[in-house]
Symmetry: C2
Subunit: 448 residues, 2 copies
């Protein structure tokens, strides 16, 4: 966007330097918009959707955004005192406590290790709000943030366009495994240039629906320990756990790596970012939690430390949104009080997505097309296919025009591929989806 109208109107003269520079790339929304109008199979949408009767017995066959009845039904019973007053800046105290318990439940047998490290979660406006707050707190302008080379496009909006830092990436995979050595090298190179570094870890990953196998966790943690030992400098590890719990392979890590990073090394500060969007299938709610895993052995008054962290996070929340939406906090607090029921209902969606992921994998396995290489996937909402010989944007364009199939293309640097949101494609459409992609690549390959 060239902002010609803003220039011509004179409004550009009123903008700050930030106001002049900020812009929103078309990205996912462009393709979501196109798909909404043109596609019969829409694999662009990052929320779990499908016929309502797939998750609720006896419900209509009509497509809905999957939800958890035992979360949503609380809105009907909220009293005005549970919706109307301001919530405290960092969230309802009971919600903060309940979310801490939820984290401890999720870490399972790591509880004894994690509990002494865990701060009281701060409620954020979604995972995005958590990433923004953490990035403001820990990332300087012109600094480098490290991430695998498959990452949610909004990281660039936050870290690069908003904060003015730079994301440098390493290849996600080394063969079919998470690229330990690449991660280490990029972190060490970064720490050679700056006094600290922030690493983004997003498992299950968007856009690659991948969680490493359980036996890879210790090597990953050890690799990070080696980095901070060798560099003699500290790192923040931002665990973007938006998709935690959506794992379809029993051999894969079932929980966040955050627990394993707690107390791993005094120079490693893990931060856990959770969100209700996927964890409680409530995208529109806009709540998340930001929780630190502080080394347990610090010779510091923990209460003072919590207060100081809260003060700084409060300074960010107060100066951007003041506080987070109370009706949703009230509903989630009630839902956390009936967690077994909520998780049982969520399991239906996890099962549906697992079946779709497995079918998609089976369909890809039937295909032998050198230009199409699905990356390993076993978790989350998406899979990603590297594409060779055909520009991804051109492929997406052709797919939607000729086959009425919507996907999100990714082009740039060494990346050329498409993200497929199986979360929004019913099982019955998956064979057609794969066939369409194969045909589209063949069409375009034949052309050139």
């Amino acid at each position: 966007m060239e902002f010609e109208a803003l220039k011509k109107s004179g409004i550009t003269n009123l903008l700050s330097a930030f106001g002049r520079s900020i812009w929103l790339p078309q990205g996912i929304f462009y393709w979501t918009g196109r798909a909404k109008k043109e596609a019969t199979i829409d694999a662009t949408i990052g929320s779990a959707q499908g016929p309502e009767n797939e998750i609720i017995a006896g419900a209509p066959d009509k497509a809905v955004t999957f939800y958890i009845p035992s979360v949503q039904r609380h809105f009907a019973g909220l009293k005005s005192e549970e919706t109307v007053p301001y919530a405290p800046m960092l969230g309802l105290p009971d919600l903060r406590k309940a979310w801490r318990e939820w984290i401890l439940r999720k870490v399972g047998d790591l509880r004894p290790r994690v509990e002494p490290c865990l701060t009281l979660p701060a409620v954020t406006p979604g995972v995005t709000g958590g990433i923004f707050m953490a990035a403001k707190m820990f990332v300087d302008k012109d600094e480098v943030v490290v991430s695998p080379d498959r990452l949610w496009e909004n990281y660039s909006n936050i870290v690069e366009r908003h904060i003015g830092a730079r994301i440098e990436t390493f290849p996600f995979f080394d063969g079919g495994r998470f690229n330990l050595k690449g991660m280490q090298r990029k972190l060490l190179d970064t720490l050679a240039q700056q006094p600290k570094a922030l690493l983004m870890l997003n498992f299950p990953n968007n856009p690659v629906g991948f969680n490493p196998p359980q036996e890879m966790v210790q090597p990953i943690v050890q690799a990070l320990i080696d980095v901070v030992e060798q560099a003699g400098k500290p790192i923040v590890v931002l665990c973007d756990d938006a998709y935690e719990g959506y794992v379809y392979d029993p051999a894969a890590l079932q929980r966040s790596m955050f627990g394993d990073l707690c107390d791993a090394h005094r120079r490693i500060l893990p931060i856990k970012l959770d969100g209700i969007s996927k964890e409680f299938l409530f995208y529109g709610g806009r709540l998340g939690c930001l929780t630190f895993g502080l080394p347990s052995g610090l010779d510091v008054d923990r209460k003072a430390l919590q207060e100081e962290l809260d003060n700084k996070l409060g300074g960010i929340v107060r100066s951007t949104v003041s506080n987070c939406t109370r009706p949703v906090q009230s509903a989630i607090l009630k839902a956390l009080g009936q967690l077994d029921q909520v998780l049982a209902e969520r399991q239906r969606t996890v099962d549906v997505l697992g079946r779709r992921a497995n079918l998609l994998k089976a369909e890809f396995a039937k295909v032998s097309l050198p230009q199409l290489r699905p990356l390993p996937f076993n978790a989350g909402f998406f899979c990603f296919c590297d594409v060779e010989g055909v520009p991804a944007n051109k492929l997406a364009e052709h797919l939607i025009e000729k086959y009425k199939i919507g996907v999100v293309p990714s082009e740039g640097g060494k990346i050329n591929g498409i993200r497929i949101a199986f979360c929004s494609v019913p099982e019955k459409d998956i064979p057609t989806l794969v066939n369409g992609i194969v045909s589209a690549i063949k069409d375009l390959a034949a052309e050139s």
Copy 2:
């Protein structure tokens, strides 16, 4: 706060420059917290409260945060599709349109003037979110923002601590009138040093519950026209209209000054910030709207201009919160569809607050104490008393300790006084409140 624990823990080494500098002053929250525990009369809380039967016939006598039943009741009927999916970044399209209509209704007979100027409102996370977005867009680091010297303390968190700019003030009153000349002088001084300036206008004002008389509006607008003419430079006027509609004097301006600023001059860009917190008595909802009043005569494609502004606002929203809470958007959209009913119910709260304001004024009129000077008030949720001879913090401390009365003190520069939130004090307590303040000042004056 010295952040000793953060230093000792080594976490300070991981913080960005922003992370090191950001902090939240105790401010209002300190006194609200104290009052909650210690006060029997709590005049610290910035939300309208009182016995429920004051606003709803037959309801219990128990104190609640006042609400609008025809806003809140929609939560009971929301379908999952109205709560669960993401809302678009800048808000539900129908809500944006409905809010535009709401603004046009509020400007009344100015509609023909305002309508051609008005953009489609962008939904923000509360008025705070709107101020933050506008400040990011239009205020540079180290620049000066101009405001009357009675202002919401959160302006400092946003403009100074977050953005790194500086607020410079002019005395709010000149005699009993809004200080036109002071405003002009400060703006001209500012524009002598920088290419543009942003003026905060908050009517009805927090902490001074003041709206100028209707006949002052044209002189204020003319004063701003004179400024941009004389300086040859443009200004943004941020109309913080959080308290719009709460006016208890028929001679005072009943609506925002935004409408009068539309098309006032091609170098004046008015921005209207609305919020549901007070307008629809829904503090915990966290929604607001940001709307531009673009000169109607611009030789620019208006659609392109709207798209470009939306792109930049979208860049900020996407990189901070992604989008705003959908259940609340859905409820407000329904409420806007029954606006007459909603406004009729709101009127009960307006009437209650009006009676309190008038009683408070009458009680102050009985007092003859040179150290206590209530500033003119006729609107909003608060009044402000200048205090002489006794430090405001000391007065607030004494008031809460001896008289169990909570107020928010303000000390700094030439300001020494207390903010009284009559919005949260029932009528029956107002004489005791005033007597307590008078006695406390006398106690302390006698001591010294």
